[in-house]
C-alpha cells in the first residue's frame, strides 16, 4: 500500500543522451523505499533508458551519457566509479529470462561465488534466495538439473533468485513478464508484491494493467513530440493515477485514447 515511506532513489533533473540524440529530459522524481514503482508509457519514451541509469547499465552503450543526479542513499549514481558495488546493490531482471547455462544451484551461486563468499554462506544463500523467489518448493529436489530445463516463468523466478543472492537493495525489472504467459505473469506479480516488503522495486512495463495491479506508485512517461525526447508526465500513487490522473495526457494514455 502506498503511504509514508523513505526515499530510496532521488532522481533530479536527469537528462540522457545517446550520442547527440537526447532520450530523456529533466526527469525529476523520488522512488520510495520498499515499494513497487512502475514506469509506464508508450514505446520509445525512454522507460528502459531511465531504468538503466539506475545501475549504470548504459555504460555498455558507446556514446551514452547521463546528466543530472540520481542519489541512492545520498550517493550519486550518475558519477560513481564504483560500478561493481552499485550493480550489486541494484539488481536487474530483464525482459527475457536469462538463466546461465549451468545447473539451477550454480545459477544462484554464481554471483556469490565469484564475489568470493565462503561455501557455507553460499549454500545458505542458494536456499534462502530460492525461497524468497518462491521457487524453492518447485526446484528443491532438482537443484542440479540445468536451469534451461525450467519453464519460462520458473526461469524468470530463478533469475530473480540469482539477483537476490548478491543481496541487492533495489531490484530493477524491465518488462519482466512480457515473454511469459498469463499464469506465469501472475506468479511473478505476486512475487513482486512479496518482495516489496524487503526491497525497493522499479518495474518498467508496457502493460498498464500490470502497473495498475502491482505497483504502489506509477510514473507515466511520454515522448515530447517537439524535442523528441522522453519526459516524465506524471508521478503519483498508482490508485490516484488510475482513478483520476491529473494530466490529460495520462488520462488519454490509460484509457487508450491516444493519437
Amino acid at each position: 500500500m502506498p503511504g509514508a515511506a523513505g526515499t530510496k532513489l532521488e532522481v533530479d533533473s536527469l537528462s540522457f543522451f545517446y550520442g547527440k540524440t537526447r532520450a530523456l529530459k529533466d526527469v525529476t522524481f523520488n522512488i520510495p523505499e520498499r515499494r513497487i514503482t512502475a514506469i509506464i508509457g508508450p514505446s520509445g519514451c525512454g522507460k528502459t533508458t531511465l531504468l538503466r541509469v539506475f545501475n549504470r547499465m548504459y555504460d555498455l552503450v558507446p556514446g551514452a551519457r547521463a546528466q543530472g543526479t540520481v542519489l541512492m542513499d545520498g550517493n550519486d549514481i550518475v558519477t560513481t566509479t564504483k560500478l561493481l558495488d552499485l550493480r550489486q546493490k541494484v539488481g536487474m531482471v530483464f525482459q527475457r529470462p536469462s538463466p546461465f547455462p549451468m545447473s539451477i544451484r550454480d545459477n544462484v551461486a554464481f554471483g556469490p561465488r565469484l564475489l568470493g563468499w565462503n561455501k557455507t554462506r553460499v549454500k545458505e544463500l542458494v536456499r534462502s534466495s530460492l525461497e524468497a523467489a518462491a521457487l524453492w518448493d518447485e526446484v528443491s529436489d532438482r537443484l542440479d538439473e540445468p536451469a534451461t530445463s525450467l519453464s519460462g516463468g520458473q526461469q524468470q523466478r530463478l533469475v530473480i533468485a540469482r539477483c537476490l543472492a548478491v543481496s541487492p537493495e533495489v531490484i530493477l525489472m524491465d518488462e519482466p513478464c512480457s515473454a511469459l504467459d498469463p499464469v506465469a505473469t501472475l506468479k511473478i506479480e505476486d512475487l513482486m508484491v512479496q518482495l516489496a516488503r524487503d526491497y525497493t522495486i522499479v518495474i518498467v512495463t508496457h502493460n498498464m494493467q500490470q502497473a495498475a495491479r502491482v505497483s504502489d506508485f506509477t510514473a507515466f512517461m511520454l515522448m515530447n513530440p517537439e524535442g523528441r525526447h522522453g519526459e516524465l508526465i506524471e508521478f503519483a500513487p498508482t490508485a490516484d493515477l488510475f482513478n483520476a490522473p491529473r494530466d490529460p495526457r495520462t488520462e488519454a494514455y490509460i484509457t487508450g485514447r491516444f493519437g
Binding site: 494493467q209 482513478n243 490522473p245
Partner: protein
C-alpha cells in the same frame, strides 16, 4: 475513432439511464396527477409501470457489469460507468417513491373526497422540476447545473414541514373520524415521499459531480 465498442456501450448506457430518468419523471407526474384527479386506475398504472423501471435498472447494472468485464475501463471511463450505476440506483429508488405515492392515492380514492392542500401541488411541481433539471444536467454533463439543482432542496423541505405540522394539528383537533385520520396519515406519507425524492436528486447531483470531475462531494 478509438475504442469503438466501449464508446458504443457507453452511449447505450447513457441512453438507458436518461430513459430511466424520463420514466421516473413521468411516474412522479402520473402519480401526483392521479392523486389530484383521484384516479385509481392511473395510480394502478404507475405501479405496473414500475416493473419496467426495475427491468431497466437491472439491465443497466448487467450491462455495466459486462462492460467492466470486457472493456477494463479506468479513470474517466470507469467513473462514467460507475457514475451511471450510482445514478441508476437513485433513479430506481425515486421510482419506488412514485409507486408509493400511487399506492397512497389508491387509499385516498377509497375515502371521501376533500380538496387537496395547495402545498402538494407546489411540492409536486418542485420535485418534478428538480428531477427534470437534474436529468438535463446529466445529459449536458453540466456539473455546475447539477450543483444548482441540488441547492433547491430547502424549499421542498420547508413545505414538507409545513404540511406535516398542519396535518398533525388537523388530526389532533378534529372530531373522531377514522377516515379523516387515515386520509391525513396517507397524505402525510405522500408529502414524506415527495421530500425523499428531493433527497435523491441531491444524491444524483453528487454522482454527476463525481462522474465529471472525480470529486466526491457532499451536497446534502
Amino acid at each position: 475513432m478509438p475504442r469503438l465498442t466501449f464508446e458504443r456501450e457507453l452511449a447505450s448506457l447513457r441512453e438507458s439511464v436518461v430513459r430511466m430518468g424520463t420514466v421516473v419523471e413521468a411516474q412522479i407526474e402520473a402519480s401526483l396527477d392521479a392523486l389530484r384527479r383521484r384516479d385509481g386506475a392511473s395510480a394502478e398504472k404507475v405501479r405496473s409501470q414500475d416493473q419496467y423501471l426495475n427491468e431497466l435498472f437491472k439491465q443497466i447494472r448487467e450491462q455495466i457489469f459486462m462492460v467492466i468485464a470486457t472493456q477494463q475501463p479506468v479513470a474517466r471511463d470507469l467513473r462514467r460507468l460507475m457514475g451511471i450505476q450510482y445514478i441508476a440506483t437513485e433513479l430506481e429508488r425515486m421510482g419506488d417513491y412514485a409507486v408509493r405515492i400511487a399506492r397512497m392515492t389508491k387509499t385516498l380514492v377509497g375515502l371521501p373526497d376533500k380538496p387537496l392542500r395547495a402545498e402538494f401541488g407546489l411540492m409536486g411541481d418542485l420535485s418534478i422540476g428538480q428531477v427534470h433539471d437534474i436529468l438535463e444536467a446529466l445529459i449536458d454533463e453540466n456539473e455546475a447545473h447539477a450543483r444548482e439543482v441540488a441547492g433547491r432542496d430547502n424549499e421542498i423541505d420547508r413545505l414538507y414541514h409545513r404540511v406535516f405540522d398542519e396535518l398533525i394539528t388537523e388530526m389532533g383537533t378534529g372530531k373522531p373520524d377514522p377516515d379523516g385520520a387515515l386520509r391525513a396519515v396517507t397524505l402525510l406519507l405522500v408529502a414524506h415521499n415527495l421530500e425523499r425524492i428531493a433527497d435523491r436528486v441531491t444524491n444524483v447531483a453528487e454522482d454527476i459531480v463525481f462522474l465529471e470531475t472525480g470529486q466526491v462531494v457532499e451536497l446534502g
